[in-house]
Symmetry: C2
């Protein structure tokens, strides 16, 4: 067990990051609930599927995009399908898999969620930092990505 001590700067940046991200998520989830809308994870999936267009996506492709475990994707898709927001299609060249496509109702739900979600982002981020600061923040956060981009 190799113990390394983080610098004080690393610790306080970490603490802020943990705290702020949770607060922002909580605020946004609250706003969605208040609007009678489903959780953020639903939006993430609907968003990816909307971007993917008519050809849809395979469930395993969603795993990395929405940062859910395989069983999480499986169950979330089952709920979305039950609500008529997505449809599952067999895929011709792989009998194990399926392709998931967003339905018109799904697109509509995505829009309705975005009305609240986008407002939340505008209030929580856009109103607090300038465009330059937002870019600087995004750039710093990008350096923390996992796995690290590049080499």
């Amino acid at each position: 067990m190799t113990k390394r001590s983080p610098s004080p700067e690393a610790v306080s940046a970490w603490a802020r990051l943990m705290r702020v991200s949770r607060q922002l998520v909580e605020k946004t989830e609250d706003a969605l609930k208040a609007g009678g809308l489903p959780p953020l994870a639903w939006y993430d999936v609907l968003h990816e599927l909307a971007e993917a267009g008519e050809s849809g996506l395979r469930p395993f492709e969603l795993i990395d995009r929405v940062l859910l475990a395989q069983y999480g994707v499986s169950r979330l898709l089952a709920r979305l399908e039950a609500e008529g927001l997505v449809e599952k299609l067999p895929v011709s060249d792989d009998g194990r898999g399926q392709t998931v496509r967003i339905t018109p109702n799904g697109r509509d739900m995505r829009r309705r969620i975005w009305a609240v979600y986008g407002t939340s982002i505008a209030e929580l981020m856009g109103d607090r930092l300038s465009a330059e600061e937002l870019k600087a923040l995004a750039a710093l956060l990008a350096r923390l990505r996992h796995p690290p981009v590049g080499t």
Copy 2:
């Protein structure tokens, strides 16, 4: 329903923040699991209680500090008590309440979690950004706090 559209900068900073914070949490939770240690939330509580010292804390004081719901604190404390990591004491001037204090075993567990947690912070943050960048990141994040500090 007043819809506002967030700027592209706000959206990408938001996306990065959501993604990176989740990745970092996941990496750290994985490291804890790999070490046979309890989740981050346990650390948070043990840390607060360790800082509070012999006088301990009331459960309701933990709610805001660790960003858990009231029932979350109640149940987490029950688990910690069952593990002998904290103890609950009646409080003299309020028959409804209790004071929670960390035990020696709790302090020990906190240290063991920190050995892994601290290493994780060092690798995930300290190795990727300089001290100045970390300070800049923390400062930007501080501006996103909720509720906003000051006026």
